[in-house]
Symmetry: C2
Subunit: 306 residues, 2 copies
């Protein structure tokens, strides 16, 4: 019976590419490991898989009785629903430490870097395993995605160096150009059902007993959302009610202007004031310089709800 | 303001030596870090510090507003009481993943090996920092202690190789002989107040809402406890009542016979039967081959209390 490597719900490119890269590493080390996904893939991730010749990982949501590596998260709510019935063999992540616990010792690699795949590269180096060309390409794209082509405040020197090294292995001469191509795919939101858009990169957090859902859409130009705002508001309001959530936030991130418009539906009217020092106007607020949910949105919100 | 590296309450040699070794590493990397301890040191640890010329780390129990590295644990109950008011910069540990969470990304090195210092050695290698002779000696002793001179089932090839490498750096020709000398110091329990003995290596665990305290004394010959059993029972019963605990266990481990006698005071009369398949006789049970609290005592108990 193989082990599995699985990222978070509503998988993003980092979750999928790190599951693929870790599975190859562990399998090469003699421990058969298969990548899995907890949900449907975004156009960006499909673009990466297609570009480097990968099939979609197996859709698998139950891991009872199986050995799993958790990648790109450590919050129970973001992982498989029956995570308690699985044996967690390892966690590779770059977020704050969540509430997953285990009853046996395991392998954990967590680093304050921009992308899980940067850590997976460290693991390849540590175990002295060569990275195949196509895996290096997929890892590189995941890092470009998570760091918003190095613009995100989460981006570290380690991420930039890692992209350089992976580009060389993959034989890609202009990594940034490939990153822009990828973000153009990501920006093509027209024609997509509103709920699919809202859930494309959506994570729930348990913040001191309050369920908070935060979605993010990163595009090259926010104007693309101009005619959708009312529909987006209606849908996140629905999402809040359906999930009995305290708050739902949707970040519309402009990667060229380097900031995010935040749409807010919350039980707390003064939520953005308390967390970010900005008053809501018509349920929206522009947060200049904010590109990272993990580093700039979650921590102040979590602290303000303490 | 420096950061701190701190191990668990009732510190053992691994907690102290890993705090010292990590502090040197981080300071060398440009991040001033100071080792601290949460309590009094055991004769074994004092022997190691004396042997390699170290002062006792600073006794410090409050870390509010400070940056800390947590070593050798990841359970809140085992760490500083005001851990929530500190900024956790990293965790280096070899136990099951506990319930510490953070609000910001951090550095975590957890491996299923016999000793935290084996992981710290990996960190020195990763960051390409040379280990000073005296730190290598202290790290080596901590590994010999935690792995019971390689006899514990927690001991891995990585621990053995690490001791070999550290012995070479420290210029020690017979690591095992030094280990035996250390265990002889550890076995000198006569004349020590009973409460000090019980707490010498004592850890509390929150097992599915039940507070369980587990102490362990490792000696070269169990006969040394023959005249103390009644006093030991009386004291762990007191400890159970004082702390409002569900269970207190005391493991008397014979490292030569390679097994442990477990003294039990518990709310569950059938605790050892359910967890270990062994019936208590006069509150005691012999567990053959059991040397490791972490690997052989805690997991089945935690599962049986689920």
């Amino acid at each position: 019976m193989p082990n599995y490597a699985v990222g978070h719900k509503t998988p993003d490119s980092d979750s999928i590419c790190s599951a693929i890269a870790l599975s190859y590493l562990k399998t090469t080390l003699g421990e058969e490991t298969v990548p899995a996904r907890l949900g449907e893939l975004s156009p960006e991730t499909l673009f990466i898989l297609d570009k480097f010749g990968f099939e979609q990982p197996e859709l698998k949501t139950s891991f009872a009785g199986e050995g799993i590596y958790i990648v790109d998260h450590s919050d129970r709510i973001q992982g498989p629903d029956d995570i308690d019935e699985a044996t967690i063999l390892g966690i590779i992540d770059h977020h704050k430490l969540g509430d997953i616990t285990t009853s046996t010792p395991l392998e954990i690699w967590v680093r304050p870097v921009g992308c899980t795949n940067t850590i997976i590269k460290m693991m390849y180096d540590f175990y002295d395993v060569e990275i195949p060309k196509n895996i290096a390409g997929a890892m590189m794209c995941a890092i470009l995605s998570d760091t918003v082509i190095f613009k995100s405040p989460t981006c570290t020197t380690a991420d930039i160096k890692c992209v350089e090294a992976l580009a060389e292995i993959a034989g890609i001469s202009d990594a940034k150009a490939l990153g822009m191509e990828m973000f153009a795919v990501k920006s093509a939101v027209l024609g997509t059902p509103i709920r699919d858009l809202v859930l494309r990169d959506f994570k729930d957090f348990n913040m001191h007993g309050n369920l908070v859902g935060i979605g993010q859409l990163e595009v090259l130009d926010l104007a693309i959302f101009d005619d959708m705002k009312l529909e987006l508001f209606a849908d996140i309001a629905k999402l809040k009610a359906e999930g009995n959530r305290h708050t739902v936030l949707l970040l519309l991130t402009d990667i060229m202007k380097e900031g995010s418009e935040m749409l807010v539906i919350s039980d707390n009217a003064d939520l953005t004031e308390k967390a970010y020092g900005k008053t809501l106007v018509d349920g929206k607020v522009w947060l200049d310089g904010v590109l990272s949910r993990k580093k700039q949105v979650v921590p102040p919100l979590q602290d303000s709800l303490a």
